[in-house]
Symmetry: C2
Subunit: 580 residues, 2 copies
């Protein structure tokens, strides 16, 4: 029986650890800089792959990521499993009922934002295929179709995330963007399936090509009608009669793997089946949110980073970096999509500013484009030059979407407590016995840490507010606050008074956890958002109790970030000395 | 670059789908029969492997699970990743503070329940190694050590699960069993690491063997001291500063993979490092329960079934089934562990009945034994005969533990609502307008479905109870109930009265969801358990509301089983026709 030997297992473990760890670290850095984490994940692969590590220390690169042999095969197998799971999860985000509900407007916007980049892209690819990066042996028609799809595809997960960040997800504008993105995804993947069918080596003649395409379309229709019906019917049974959530997870994965195998057998790629399975399963009203979340979180935390980091491993991003091609690809993609999307939105009745925002939102290509490009390169359709250009385009358009929408709509992300805190403005042992004394202590701490803050001004503003109406909430929380001229950003100073201070909370309880919220004078909304965030987070009894037990600022921030208290001691705390 | 071809990807997807689907289906059947699901998971592999499918349809078996080539390598790689994750999760269950707290008694019980089976097993293996299943080329001393470990290892996850099922987990007896099992695991895995060190082909002489063992022990000490300290220190930082829960999951996995690589490099198996990483990480008070649960649920739902099913694929369980060897292995394992454990518990002061229960609890070998046996067979230390015997022993001892403890302690599993329901006793449209009329409808439905039930008797008993004190709870729930002579098991009849019926709930709300609970006359506890289960489950507003929306009995049971309502429509429900 073929097995990995000792050395190969060691290499496999080290490769997985480096990829996963590296992808996470750079992904977090990207997130910190306000960029999508997929940017950092790919960068990790670029650093570990031929581009950087292969150039600085070729032996280390060859040791960790051998290009041939058992380890390359295992990584490819794992990558296939990862991308199947990723597309399953992406498919589950598609909610067919949204598109049905908004079908008229979504169809107008969708057609235009699909046609525009598709036609420009396909035209260019057809006229100068080699310059655009067609592989010498590849067929021009197939390449043309692919290039059109690559220009017009959209990235539902990135778009949804961006809309949520800007608090736009549940607005008319947000729903319309989502419906259109679903529309684009469905068209895009269907045409891409045809592209793959055209490339299938076994389909040498027109008849078999037609058969492949027919089977692909037939499979899609079957999955979204009969399959969807059967899954929706059987899901309650599975959730009623199998162990939870293992049963429904295994059910979803088995269906996804079988659907992936079916599309692979037809001659189009496995991901097409996984995506369709996700769509058919995910929009069932019976699918439990909890099961979806376990799948989503594990895939997003482990499989997606592994997959995207491995993208960076494939190609040397420096030698294949072609600025001219990148400029053309970026230009076609952005112009086509933004103009098409905005014009469509105008036709559908959106005002100009909103229409432009919709165009920028749809312009994000994200992970989907990268999956597409990877498959096309693996299939020998596109050159490494074009692959790099498509990856760069995907990243740039995704990075643009958020900031552009923010500017166009004059939106800003809601202020969050976690961003207004600082380790220097955190007092674990307030000594004051009255509200006034405690407020004085807090503003003094704040003034020491920030030059912008005058302790006296702050004290006056907060006391004034406090006298109008006391700020003690239930569960021992108090939120004294005030607005200050001269501040340029909100500041929250946190203090703990373990013995409790009377902030005249309506439940009569003394306050132990005190948040002093100072905001710029003209930022009324910011103040409200911060107060609401504090009340929401610490309204739960367990969370405020855990916060009082914090030994350090880091532990305190961890509670905010995870929204949960550290685990209770898992065993009974009473000490058992003598057995019964 | 080595990649899987089209056919290999197809086979990989089909193999994963069959293994995962088969493992889940048989795992669920096993669970239904009150057996551990690992039994069904292994059985799925036996059915799909050489034992059954390879015998009935060798071509199909060879197609799905080729023994040589790329697919075998990928499956081995995936299996390695799966077992590393499984041991990480198993390690995370170990709570070192429990064993420290109960160290005196746990050490007494642990030493005896470890020594007894170890000494008998090792003695037997040393005297008649070939008969016991040593591979011809293997070293007798190594084999002896291994056999001793195989007899004395314990299975923390199975044991914890059994104790929880019987509501014993948080009792003195339960805690003592857990502490002892941890003790046994730590000793067992350490000796097994030494066994693997002895077998390392590069350590041909005594010096290098000593070096391997020294490094293994050194690594363990390092992980549990310095490593544990560093992880505990850094966890709050990770949870405060990275995206949640992706950051902490990637952190845990990266550490586990690196630790696995380290032990693999030392010359002992990767799982040893993963297990130690789990122990070091898992008992941190900072580790969030939510992150642990995502990891645990995904591993238990996907990776563990894949791994255990693949166990069944390895060997022909029929041709290598040796009844005599199985009897000897089972006898030594059970006698040694039960006598050792019970005697130790007596010495530690437990009364005889409790001591015997402790012996049976520790006797469960579960998944750990199977992991051990798999590694030993892969390493060429034991024959397939002994492998089969050890797997059978692991399954039998695990299946014994629960029922034996139940009998010895005269415990029973608490009654649950889900087990007392039946599709025939489910009325979605009660017509009655008063409590009396509704009760009459429910008992009539019950009497139709069960011969044991007399509608008149039930009606009388329930009304009598109802007159003493009304049974309307908050949120529109009512639980009329009564005890009946002649019933042999509890019956719950569920009815929905959408217009609401007055059961005189203290919140003044009319009851819409009515549970009629009938229990045998002498089963006071059963009644309380059922009432508590109903009140707990439907006390949540969302759950009781969702229950009223159920169209079928299956949907209703799904709510109970998953403890959650179906997902709310994911998009705003207002219909957007005209854009702003």
């Amino acid at each position: 029986m073929s097995t990995l030997d000792h050395h190969q297992i060691l290499v496999l473990l080290l490769a997985l650890a480096t990829l996963l760890g590296g992808a996470r670290i750079l992904g977090e850095i990207a997130r910190r800089l306000g960029q999508p984490s997929v940017l950092g994940e790919i960068l990790a692969g670029v650093l570990l792959g031929p581009t950087v590590l292969g150039w600085i220390a070729p032996a280390a690169n060859e040791f960790l990521f051998p290009q041939i042999g058992a380890n390359a095969l295992v990584m490819h197998g794992l990558g296939t499993f990862a991308v199947v799971l990723f597309l399953l999860v992406a498919g589950m985000e598609v909610d067919l009922s949204t598109i049905v509900r908004l079908r008229r407007s979504a169809a107008i916007i969708g057609c235009l934002s699909w046609l525009m980049p598709f036609v420009i892209g396909a035209g260019l690819a057809f006229s100068v295929p080699v310059a655009m990066g067609r592989e010498p042996d590849a067929d021009t028609l197939t390449f043309t179709l692919f290039f059109g799809v690559a220009m017009s595809i959209s990235a539902l997960p990135v778009i949804a995330k961006t809309l949520m960040d800007l608090n736009l997800y549940r607005t008319d504008l947000g729903m319309m963007v989502i419906a259109t993105a679903i529309f684009l995804d469905l068209i895009g993947w269907t045409i891409f399936a045809i592209v793959l069918g055209l490339m299938n080596p076994s389909s040498a003649n027109a008849t078999s090509i037609a058969a492949t395409i027919g089977m692909a379309l037939g499979f899609a229709v079957l999955m979204l009608s009969l399959g969807r019906w059967a899954f929706h019917r059987s899901l309650p049974w599975v959730q009623a009669n199998t162990s939870w959530p293992a049963g429904v997870l295994a059910y979803a994965l088995t269906i996804a793997l079988l659907a992936a195998a079916a599309t692979e057998a037809i001659g189009i790629h496995a991901i097409f089946g996984a995506f369709l399975a996700g769509v058919a399963l995910g929009d069932s009203p019976h699918m439990r949110e909890k099961a979806r979340r376990v799948l989503e979180q594990f895939v997003a935390s482990v499989f997606a980073p592994l997959f995207f980091a491995s993208i960076g491993l494939r190609v040397n991003f420096v030698t294949h970096f072609d600025p001219a091609l990148i400029a053309v690809v970026l230009g076609v993609a952005c112009l086509g999509q933004i103009i098409g999307g905005s014009y469509g939105a105008r036709l559908a009745g959106f005002p100009p500013r909103h229409a432009l925002a919709i165009g920028f939102a749809l312009n994000a290509r994200g992970a989907m484009e990268i999956v597409l490009a990877t498959l096309a390169m693996q299939a020998g359709l596109i050159s490494e030059r074009l692959f790099v250009a498509l990856v760069v385009m995907a990243l740039v358009t995704s990075m643009l979407a958020g900031p552009a929408m923010q500017r166009i709509l004059r939106r800003r992300k809601p202020s969050r407590l976690i961003d207004a805190l600082s380790g220097k403005m955190f007092v674990t042992n307030l000594r004051g016995a009255t509200a006034e004394a405690v407020i004085r202590e807090l503003v003094t701490t704040g003034a020491k840490a920030s030059e912008k803050l005058s302790a006296d001004d702050a004290n006056r503003a907060v006391l004034q507010r406090e006298h109008i109406m006391p700020t003690g909430l239930a569960h021992g929380i108090a939120i004294p606050h005030g607005r200050l001229r001269g501040l340029d950003r909100p500041i929250v100073i946190v203090g703990m008074a373990r013995r409790g201070v009377d902030f005249r909370a309506h439940d009569g309880q003394a306050s132990q956890l005190i948040f002093l919220v100072l905001t710029p004078e003209n930022a009324a909304e910011t103040q409200l958002e911060l107060l609401a965030d504090i009340a929401r987070t610490f309204g739960e009894r367990g969370v405020s109790k855990a916060a009082l037990d914090c030994q350090s600022f880091t532990e305190f921030v961890a509670i905010l970030n995870t929204g949960s208290a550290p685990q209770a001691a898992r065993v009974a705390t009473r000490v058992v000395t003598a057995p019964p």
